[in-house]
Symmetry: C2
Subunit: 247 residues, 2 copies
DNA sequence: CACATCCGGAGGATTCTCCTCCGCTTGGTA
DNA sequence: TACCAAGCGGAGGAGAATCCTCCGGATGTG
């Protein structure tokens, strides 16, 4: 699984949130992290409408604990999405900052993104969650910026082929994150994903002599992806239920 | 959808089956084909335990018609699997026979396999169906033979990298067949799958100068894939219900 | 050590899915 | 054309799965 534990905690350093909600007790926070982790995996494997009892069971907590922390399905999905997006943004920043070669940075980022299973976030994000949720949109954009920088730099350097764009990278990660349709043990499935990513990276390289295949259709930009989100109707059509203890 | 209609009909040319079951009436056969087609898509999109009423609705027939033809879920899954495997085998044969260059033959086969959504068959095949079903195993092997020939030939010719094998090709096709986690219109999703396959094909090429990435783990053979099927217990642990009208 | 916070699991209500039954329609044949 | 077996659709009861609340007991914190 790569990263071991400890969700990125937006509350860190604040005794209480602006709203005056006291910080969670230690065991409660631990359970919350386990729920997020379990929910991510369960949503990946069984889709965004998986049974919440499965999530609780996998997290090793009672179902009541889940409902106590996340009053409904959507607030759990939202929390999972925010958590994973934050982690992914962090990975992108690190890759960009620490890897001098832009293509290698992109490669590293993609491998890390696989470990984080960002692909899990997309279905939840794009099918069930309110696309008018500001925090969510912001988190997505924050994660996108460094990736776009890597792409642009690598293309300018000639190490990334020119006929791909952000949307392609994102979708490819999503594809590789999806669970294989066979009962592979988790470890094997992960190894295969990285293996197939390596294959793909060879196809993404910029050396013109490599690019024997011509890609059909135009490169898929971030904008193309965003255009998919149905036209944002008024700010908050249905008041989004926040998760408890972090409003 | 590529191929337009008319499922491959194992009954063709026989007025009645050995068992004495008369051939289906024309409208019944048409409905059967539509059901197979719809079932394939629904299984792909909602998993192997999708609601059978969805299948019937998408096929444009009543639920009773589905149950009349396929007494239970498994027999429908079985029929879908056999149908798709037969189509895929046919595509592989054609590619092998008509394309002189083995790598190009493989590429063509993979593109066609995408259109047929073989990826739909694998989850059904590997998770729900009895792996001791002779016809199913035979169909799979028939489809595998020409593909393995293409792989071996292309590798011998140096056009396909040596560190991949049948299992990789199969899994990559499965990955590309899986529905994207975003509400793309079907046509767009298909186009993207082909686009990403082209990318991948550039990564699969054999020119050693191309292969900058080293693949982790050993190449995945057909045997590796087969090893996943739980040890075949005695011939027929539970009598497999055949679909009606073709026993 | 005291108390507020947190936990787990049972269980009623609700929703979804399955699958059969039966009267009407349609394709094939004489 | 006319007959009739084969085929069709949709309603609806049975059963299963899921949701989500309630409350006595355990546990972290000051």
């Amino acid at each position: 699984m790569g990263t071991t534990s400890a969700a990125i905690d937006q509350r860190r350093g604040q005794a209480t949130r602006p709203g005056g909600v006291p910080r969670l007790r230690a065991d409660a926070r631990r359970n919350r992290d386990q729920l997020l982790h379990a929910a991510r995996d369960v949503f990946v494997e069984h889709g965004p409408s998986a049974a919440l009892e499965d999530v609780a069971r996998r997290a090793g907590v009672g179902i009541a604990t889940l409902y106590r922390r996340f009053p409904d399905r959507q607030s759990l999905q939202r929390a999972v999405a925010l958590d994973v997006l934050a982690r992914v943004a962090q990975e992108a920043d690190h890759a960009l900052a620490e890897e001098p070669d832009a293509f290698l940075a992109l490669a590293r980022y993609m491998h890390r993104a696989l470990d984080l299973r960002v692909g899990a976030v997309m279905p939840v994000l794009m099918s069930e969650l309110s696309l008018t949720d500001e925090a969510l949109l912001r988190a997505r954009d924050v994660a996108a910026v460094p990736v776009q920088a890597m792409i642009a730099t690598a293309q300018a350097a000639g190490t990334l082929r020119l006929d791909v764009d952000f949307g392609d990278i994102g979708l490819l990660i999503a594809r590789l994150c999806q669970p294989l349709p066979a009962p592979f043990p988790r470890a094997v499935a992960d190894a295969l994903a990285h293996r197939h990513l390596a294959l793909l990276l060879d196809g993404l390289r910029g050396d013109p002599s490599r690019s024997a295949e011509t890609l059909s259709g135009p490169a898929l930009t971030l904008g193309d992806l965003q255009a998919l989100t149905p036209s944002p109707s008024p700010p908050a059509p249905s008041p989004v239920p926040r998760e408890r203890g972090s409003e």
